[in-house]
Each structure stands twice: as structure tokens, then as C-alpha cells.
């Protein structure tokens, strides 16, 4: 038999799977780590311990549990939270903790400086996205400005996945999907590094080599083999960021396919045949040449259901609180008896991109209860999601297939409301393993044993949520849209 290994490093958890040639999961293992917040606005991982250390632990566990000989593991792929910014020295040793993705806002001054210097229009056209806290370029500039001592020793700047691949193979590579977040250092039209927009950030030799995710980056070195238990010479794929691997794991493969991830935030990846040019949506080349990805994300989602549970359902036992709240809300008719909720508790990302937006309840009357408020909260998130779908429609990129993933898919009310407000059916697949499973497929593709389309066989459709026409949602949606516009100035003033 032959197996492939997929490992994914999340914000708090690392998960790995061994998958056979038919897509069956033969072993699964996980371990946890912390996110460090050394000061407000900073978020870090320790690369040696949290990334490489976790990879080793999970891999060893999988080999031990499964009893599969290492030489039957034919290929390895990993993904990780990202994009991250990690400077390494000439030996590939980390010079500091890894600076995490958009949750780390330390480089906002550099974001503003670079945007002003290059011009917002130029950044958008050449890099596909505006510069934000998600962008790696400004974080490297921060390093140069704030820690010149470290910058002086920096031989390469890596993302989390690149670091793992280097540990396994000695190669410095990065996939195009992740590289698109290295703005303003990556040109999406030429699909190549571009230092012309901001020459002061790095020299060309500091960036890893660009490759596609399912290409073989290199092979497991003797040294890495000793530590992990993998066979020396095992092919290692270039890999990608966790969300992309997750999309792959549930069958996102053709233009028009969209992953809808119900996590702490809602995150969407849609494949397109052409690059979608719109400042409200994020862009990256997809994992394979010739395909493009258009991304969107809400600022809050699952975090709001947790907020509501923690603040307003303290008397409920924690393990049954969500089912109880959902059951309460299910007794309320759609529309929550004229109650409307704006979910912008942490501002909003797609499509408003307004950091000052705030949460709100409108239409409250004396008959409204906690059940109405929870229902309105779920419906508000669903309206926020419908707003994103509407944005895709406006740019001519109507999703053809919606694939739902994440913990929130267990909340039937939420998933149904999302279909009903956006007018799209949703598919939930059989396996909910996540990104590590997508990596196992990537590894299999890299060695020529599978094609992307095999995912439909590996992970078949388990159920479909059919969109229903709900008049109450149709009436509420324009009000939802109008309310933000009418109250955004007040929300901004409240933050001052």
C-alpha cells in the first residue's frame, strides 16, 4: 500500500493525517500550541516549537499509531496559518518568533507609508489587494525599521509553510497563493516577485523560490528523516496556506466553486477562470497554474455566537449552550419579529472594509426575548454573508457550487439562513477533517498518483442544504444594507 501524509498547523492546533490511495483516512493525530500576544496588536508563534516541533510530534504519532512503514509514505505536504513573516539566517534558523497573519497589526504605520508612497491604485492593480495587516511586505519593512539588528542577519524571509518545507528538504520555496500576500513584493499579473514598487524592503535573494503548490519542492533530508521518522528522500510538496488546503479538501476544484468556511470568522475562497479585479475582494493565483482565486471574509461570525453564549447564556451548561440557544431561536419565525442585527462588532472586512463599523440591534420591542436576539444575530451574520455573495454577483462571479466547511456547519439554523439569504444551495462533504486532508491529496497529486478531480471520490457529498425563498429575509435584507449606511457615522463617533 501507499500513503500520503498531510499536516496542517492552525492558530492553536496542529493536525495530521495519513491517507491511503483511495482517500481513506488511516490515521489521525493532533497536538496543540498557544498564540503568543507579547503586546496588544502583536501575535506570534515560536517556529521551532510550534511549527516544526508540532510537525515532528504529529508525524511521529501517525507513524507509531498506524504501524505503517515509513517507506510506504510516498509523499508529504503541509499547510499552516498564514501569511506569516519569519526572518531566518543563512542556516535557515529563525531569528525571532514568527509574526502571524492579519491578527498582527504591528506594521500599520508601514502599511500607510507604503500605500502613500506607491499609490493605492497601483498597489491594487499590480498586487491584486490593498495593503493591510495581512500583507507581509510592510511587516518586513517593520523589521527593517524596528529591528535593524535582526534585519541585518536576515538571509531569507519565510512564511510558516515555507519554513516547514525548508526544515524537511533544505529548499526555500513558496507557493504563488501565499506569495500573493507578500504585497507589495509580488506582481499578480506577471506572477513573479517584483521589487520595483518598494525596492527598500528586501533584496531579491531574501525571497524564497516561487512554485506551484502541488509541485515537489524537494525530498526529506537525512537529518529531517532522523528527527521525524519519515524515510529519507520522500518527496515534499510546496504546500500552501491552511484555508486553501481546506478548500481543496472539500472539493473546490473548478471555476465557480466556492468554499464557505464557518469558523471564528466566515472566510470564502472562490475559483475563477480569470482574475477578478475588485477592491472589495482579495485576489491570489490559485494552487495550480491557470486558475485564480477570489477571496472574502467577514470580521466576525463564530466569534459572535460565542460572544452571545458567554454573555447572555451564562446559566446554560457550556456543552449544551449552543444547542439550547439554537432550539430557542428555532421557535422564532424568520425575521425575529422585526428585529435586525448588524454583526460588525469588530468592524467589517468584505465588502465594507470599515474598521469603525460596530454591532447593533434595531427594531427592538417589549416582546423581544433572548431567543429573538439570538435568532437576529444568526440572521444578521447570514445577511452579512449574502452581502458578500451579492458583491461576487456584481463583479460577474456568481458562485456555481457552495461547499460549506467548519464548526459552524453543525448549527443548522445558521447554515440554512445563509442559504436562504444568499439564494444558494450548500454542499456539506462527508469528511470534515480539514486542511490536513487537502494536503494529503496535494501530496498524492505531486507524485502523479492523483488528479484534483479525485477529491469528489475521496470526499463525497454528504448532504445538501437547499436554499428556500423566505419572504421575511427578502424584506429584511435591504433594511440591513441601509442601516449600515445610515448609522456608520454614529458608529465611528462612538469609537472616538
Amino acid at each position: 500500500m501507499s500513503y500520503t501524509l498531510g499536516v496542517d498547523i492552525g492558530t492553536y492546533e496542529t493536525k495530521g493525517v495519513l491517507v491511503d490511495a483511495d482517500g481513506a483516512v488511516v490515521a489521525m493525530a493532533s497536538t496543540t500550541h498557544d498564540m503568543l500576544v507579547p503586546q496588544p496588536g502583536w501575535a506570534e508563534h515560536r517556529p521551532e516549537q510550534d511549527w516544526w516541533g508540532d510537525f515532528v510530534i504529529v508525524t511521529q504519532k501517525l507513524i507509531e499509531q498506524s504501524g505503517i512503514p515509513a517507506d510506504q509514505i510516498k509523499a508529504v505536504a503541509c499547510s499552516a496559518i498564514g501569511p506569516c513573516m519569519l526572518p531566518v539566517d543563512t542556516d535557515g534558523a529563525p531569528l525571532m518568533n514568527g509574526v502571524l497573519y492579519g491578527v498582527d497589526t504591528r506594521a500599520m504605520a508601514e502599511v500607510r507609508t507604503l500605500t502613500q508612497q506607491i499609490g493605492a491604485e497601483v498597489v491594487l492593480e499590480r498586487c491584486g489587494n490593498a495593503l493591510t495587516s495581512q500583507s507581509v511586505g510592510p511587516k518586513i519593512l517593520w523589521l527593517k525599521n524596528a529591528r535593524p539588528d535582526i534585519y541585518a542577519k536576515t538571509a531569507k524571509v519565510l512564511s510558516s509553510t515555507s519554513f516547514l518545507v525548508h526544515r524537511l528538504t533544505g529548499e526555500y520555496v513558496i507557493d504563488h497563493y501565499t506569495a500573493a500576500s507578500f504585497s507589495p513584493l509580488y506582481d499578480v499579473t506577471t506572477q513573479d516577485w517584483c521589487l520595483a514598487l518598494a525596492p527598500e524592503i528586501v533584496t531579491p535573494d531574501m525571497l524564497p523560490r516561487l512554485m506551484w503548490s502541488a509541485e515537489v519542492a524537494g525530498h526529506v533530508t537525512t537529518q529531517a528523516a532522523e528527527v521525524t521518522g519519515l524515510a529519507p528522500g520522500t518527496p515534499v510538496t510546496v504546500g500552501t496556506i491552511d484555508a486553501a488546503a481546506e478548500a481543496l479538501s472539500v472539493g473546490v476544484r473548478d471555476a465557480g466553486d466556492m468554499m464557505m468556511m464557518y469558523g471564528s470568522t466566515i472566510f470564502m475562497i472562490m475559483l475563477t477562470s480569470e482574475r477578478v479585479r475588485d477592491g472589495r475582494l482579495w485576489y491570489a493565483p490559485w494552487l495550480f497554474p491557470g486558475q485564480h482565486a477570489s477571496m472574502a471574509g467577514l470580521a466576525t461570525s463564530g466569534t459572535l455566537t460565542h460572544w452571545f453564549r458567554d454573555q447572555f447564556a451564562r446559566e446554560l451548561p457550556r456543552d449544551t449552550a449552543f444547542p439550547t440557544l439554537a432550539a430557542e431561536a428555532a421557535t422564532i419565525a424568520p425575521g425575529a419579529n422585526g428585529l435586525l442585527f448588524l454583526p460588525y462588532f469588530s468592524g467589517e472586512r468584505t465588502p465594507l472594509h470599515d474598521p469603525h463599523a460596530k454591532g447593533a440591534f434595531f427594531g427592538l420591542n417589549l416582546t423581544h426575548t433572548r431567543a429573538h436576539m439570538f435568532r437576529a444575530l444568526i440572521e444578521g451574520i447570514a445577511h452579512g454573508t449574502a452581502h458578500v455573495i451579492e458583491t461576487y454577483r456584481e463583479v460577474g462571479a456568481e458562485p456555481a457550487r457552495l461547499l460549506a466547511v467548519g464548526g459552524g456547519t453543525n448549527n443548522a439554523l445558521w447554515v440554512q439562513a445563509t442559504s436562504d439569504t444568499s439564494g444558494l444551495d450548500q454542499i456539506v462533504c462527508d469528511k470534515t477533517v480539514g486542511a490536513s486532508y487537502g494536503n494529503a491529496l496535494l501530496a498524492r497529486i505531486a507524485i502523479g498518483d492523483a488528479k484534483v478531480d479525485d477529491i469528489t471520490r475521496w470526499n463525497p457529498v454528504a448532504r445538501t442544504i437547499a436554499a428556500q425563498a423566505v419572504p421575511a429575509y427578502a424584506k429584511a435584507y435591504p433594511l440591513f444594507r441601509r442601516l449600515y449606511e445610515q448609522t456608520k457615522d454614529i458608529a465611528k463617533e462612538l469609537s472616538e
Binding site: T300, T303, L304, W307, D310, Q311, F312, E315, G335, G338, L339, L340, F345, S346, K358, G359, A360, F361, F362, G363, L364, N365, L366, H368, T369, R370, M373, A472, K475, A476, L479, R482, L483, Q486, T487, D489, I490, A491, E493, L494, S495
Partner: protein, 479 residues
């Protein structure tokens, strides 16, 4: 044994009886809630609820061996609530309350028939005829229930029905019939627009006159019952507001703000009652109040007292228009709104928003009153169940930037009615004397200067927030 005066208040949600000695010390109290039946535009009450609660209260008074000490009875009530009675004073139909909108068509028709000049001649002011006007109620009954109309001998207010029940006298007072009285007294000519209306109007007497005599259960002889006046006036008197420049702030399920001034400057949404006994009341009844606190406490699974105790300030805003808003916005379709929520907020912050939101509604009302009265009252005479919490009172004082002084009596309406009765019975020579002896303040809340910036900054957003949410809240109310 000292003499007592008894006040009866037939409010919108409860019937209260309270007996006081002549110094205003409460010696007996009974407050019992009763239901309102709501359906679409309908909001009606069973008049027999009022009378049986009055009778039960009097029985309790007798059981406490206090009835024989009562020297006078005063009655006040909600107004624009009408009950149709036959010649034996028996109600023929459920009472149509001030909140009931079923007579809107009749009101609109009559209103359309009256031009501006006629209106001024009839009422002395451009008074609108709305669905709560007595003439609209009469027209509705005549059209839709001609059999009941034919048997109707009089149309009475709750207080008038109670007085009739106690004394047999069918009468009313001019103060309680806002918008129906001619400038020179008596019911306005508008009642001639409905055939048979004029003959079904009660006779009018001065509030401090004696309506009739009654013998309370457990008492040895008859005592006088005063003609009395409506609840807003009784409440105003009950918090000791009787001179120009003085202000009142009543709080129960809703908050009512008022100030006395002979000067009248038009101010949007502020009502000015026709003068009585040299008193001109500018009044702004809001819809927000204790009901909003009870609501948020229910949502949070807390008691109202717990909700107040946990409250913590936050940079968020609450519009307390859960059942719509009355003065000064007069918007039945306004709705409650939380704005500015962030993940660090929870029950404590939401509760504080509600307490502060109610105070903002009252601040808006007082700002309108300042304009209407041409003066700013810096000390507010406060009374009602809504002032039970000192913490909330301080939040109110800070938001209003005015000093609150709270009366010791728990039911200012009943105390005001009792004080009027004391004058009617000759126990006090006049209202001024009656009030100065019976009304006492026992708590005072001075605005905290340090809170002023926050109050001003939040309040600056209150009306913009209302304006911004108005169209959507209207649409939501219609869903």
C-alpha cells in the same frame, strides 16, 4: 387618632389606593395590577376590574381599621380612556383606552371637517382630533354599535366612573378633558358634530369641588369625595410642583416630564395643558421608562435590581423606544435600538445603555420643555416607582445635568388626588397649603460634574441615531 385622606389612582396598568395623614405620611397602600386586552389597533380594559379593585382596596382599609379615620376621598385616573354607561351607571362596553386606535377613521373625518379658524374658536388652540378624542369615540360607538349608543346615558373617564360608583354622582372635571374644552369653559362645539353626543356629556365641576358623599365600608358616616383631576395633574401636585418655574419628573412604566410656566413658546412635540387655577403645565410624556428596564432584565435573566447593580458604562447607545415614543418625538413606529456594540460588551454594558438611554429620552423631553416654557428648571421634583434605585437616579441626574429630588410618597398620583380631596373637604384652605404640608422630599441627586463630558458626547448622538434608524425601524415595525 389622626385624620386621614385617601387617594385612589386608576392607572393604565394598576389601581392604587393610599391613605395619608394630613402631614403626608403614608399609613396604608394597596397597588394591584390588572390587564389590558390588546389586539391590532385595540387596547381595551374591563371597567369592572377598576371598580372591584377599588372595592377590594376599601375592604382592606376597613380590615386595617383605618376606614373610620378617612375624612376625604380623591380619585384620579388615566384619561382619554372612555367608558359608555347606561342610566344606572352600568358600563355597556369595555373601556376604550388612550392607547386604542380603532376610532382613527371617525377622528380623521371629523378632523377634516374643521378648518383652522374654527379650531381656534372652539378650543383656543389648533387642537387635532385623534383616535383617542372623546368625540371620535362617540362617533365610533354611534356608527358601529347603535344599540349601545342608544342605551348610553353618559361617557365617562375611569375616575368619573369610580366617583359615580362611590357617590352616585355622574360628573367630570374640565382639567381631565384636554382638547375637548372650549376657551370659556364647557365642552367645545365639536360635540355637536355627532348626533346625541351633547346630551351624553357629563356635567363639569371644579376639581376641588365635592362630587358627592360616600360611606366607606367599616366607617360610621359619609365623607366627601372630590371631583378630582387627571393623573398627570395629580402626579404633578403629588411631587409638590405648583408654582411657575418648578418642574416635575414622574417615572413608572414610562417617564413624564413637565414644567410650569405662564409663557408659551411653541416647541415641537411638547404639550401645553390649558391653565387651571393659574397653573400652566408644559408636559412631555415619554414612552420609555421602567418597562425598558424590566425588558432588558428579562432578556438578561436578571431582576431589574440586579440589572441596575451590574450596569457598567460603555461607548454604546440605546434608543429606548421599545413601544414607540411619545413626547417629544411622537413616533409610534420608533423601536428600541442598540448601537455601537463591540465584543468586549456584555450584560453589564447593555444594562447601563438602557438606564442611560431612558435618561436620554427624558433629557430630550426637558430640552423641549426648556424651550416651550422659556425657562430651565434645574431642580426636578421626582416621584413614582421608577425612582426606587438610587444608582439609576444618579445616572439620570448626570445625563440630565439637573438635580433630582425625590418625594417620600411612593404614589404621587394618589397623594395628589388625596391633597385635592383635602382641599375639597376643607381640611386645608387651598392647594398650596395642602401640598406644602403633605409633600416631603427624602432623597436628592446632584449631577456629577465629572460625568458631564460623557453625557454630552453620548447625548449628541441620541437624535442623530434616532433619525438614522427611523426609516428602518418604521419598516421593521411594519414587517
Amino acid at each position: 387618632m389622626t385624620d386621614l385622606i385617601l387617594g385612589i389612582d386608576i392607572g393604565t396598568t394598576a389601581v392604587k389606593l393610599a391613605a395619608y395623614d394630613l402631614a403626608g405620611v403614608e399609613v396604608f397602600r394597596r397597588a394591584t395590577p390588572y390587564p389590558t386586552r390588546h389586539a391590532a389597533a385595540i387596547a381595551e380594559q374591563d371597567p369592572s376590574d377598576w371598580l372591584s379593585l377599588v372595592d377590594e382596596g376599601l375592604a382592606d382599609l376597613a380590615a386595617a381599621a383605618l376606614a373610620d379615620r378617612v375624612r376625604a376621598v380623591g380619585v384620579t385616573s388615566q384619561v382619554n380612556t372612555h367608558v359608555f354607561v347606561d342610566g344606572k351607571r352600568h358600563p355597556l362596553h369595555r373601556a376604550i383606552t388612550w392607547k386604542d386606535g380603532r376610532c382613527a377613521a371617525q377622528a380623521a373625518r371629523i378632523d377634516a371637517e374643521i378648518d383652522h379658524q374654527t379650531r381656534l374658536e372652539w378650543f383656543g388652540a389648533p387642537m387635532p382630533i385623534d383616535a383617542s378624542h372623546m368625540v371620535a369615540r362617540m362617533a365610533w360607538m354611534a356608527e358601529t354599535h347603535p344599540d349601545i349608543w342608544a342605551r348610553t346615558a353618559a361617557v365617562l373617564l375611569p375616575k368619573d366612573l369610580a366617583i359615580a360608583h362611590l357617590t352616585g354622582a355622574v360628573l367630570s372635571d374640565p382639567v381631565s378633558h384636554i382638547g375637548a374644552i372650549a376657551p370659556r369653559g364647557g365642552f367645545a362645539p365639536v360635540f355637536d358634530r355627532v348626533a346625541g353626543a351633547r346630551t351624553r356629556l357629563p356635567g363639569l365641576q371644579d376639581p376641588t369641588s365635592i362630587a358627592g358623599m360616600t360611606t366607606l365600608p367599616g366607617a360610621s358616616g359619609p365623607i366627601p369625595v372630590a371631583t378630582g383631576l387627571m393623573d398627570a395633574w395629580a402626579g404633578m401636585l403629588g411631587v409638590g410642583t405648583r408654582r411657575d418655574g418648578q418642574a416635575m419628573y414622574l417615572s413608572g412604566t414610562s417617564e413624564i416630564a413637565g414644567v410650569l410656566s405662564p409663557n408659551i413658546h411653541a416647541a415641537p412635540g411638547i404639550l401645553v395643558f390649558p391653565p387651571y387655577a393659574g397653573i400652566t403645565m408644559h408636559v412631555a410624556p415619554t414612552q420609555a421608562g421602567g418597562a425598558a428596564l424590566d425588558w432588558i432584565a428579562g432578556v438578561l435573566g436578571l431582576s431589574p435590581a440586579q440589572a441596575i447593580a451590574t450596569a457598567k458604562p460603555a461607548a454604546a447607545l440605546f434608543l429606548p423606544h421599545l413601544p414607540g415614543e411619545r413626547a417629544p418625538l411622537w413616533d409610534a413606529h420608533a423601536r428600541g435600538t442598540f448601537l455601537g456594540l463591540t465584543p468586549d460588551m456584555g450584560p453589564a454594558e447593555l444594562a447601563h445603555c438602557v438606564l442611560e438611554g431612558v435618561a436620554m429620552a427624558v433629557r430630550l423631553a426637558f430640552e423641549g420643555l426648556d424651550q416651550s416654557a422659556g425657562l430651565r428648571a434645574n431642580i426636578l421634583n421626582c416621584g413614582g416607582g421608577g425612582f426606587a434605585s438610587d444608582r439609576w437616579n444618579q445616572i439620570r441626574a448626570n445625563m440630565l445635568d439637573r438635580t433630582l429630588q425625590c418625594v417620600a410618597a411612593r404614589d404621587p398620583g394618589a397623594l395628589g388626588a388625596a391633597a385635592v380631596a383635602a382641599v375639597a373637604a376643607g381640611l386645608h384652605p387651598n392647594l398650596d397649603a395642602a401640598l406644602s404640608q403633605t409633600v416631603r422630599f427624602d432623597r436628592r441627586f446632584v449631577p456629577d460634574r465629572a460625568a458631564r463630558d460623557r453625557s454630552d458626547a453620548l447625548f449628541a448622538l441620541y437624535q442623530p441615531a434616532y433619525e438614522a434608524a427611523r426609516a428602518t425601524n418604521h419598516a421593521l415595525a411594519a414587517l
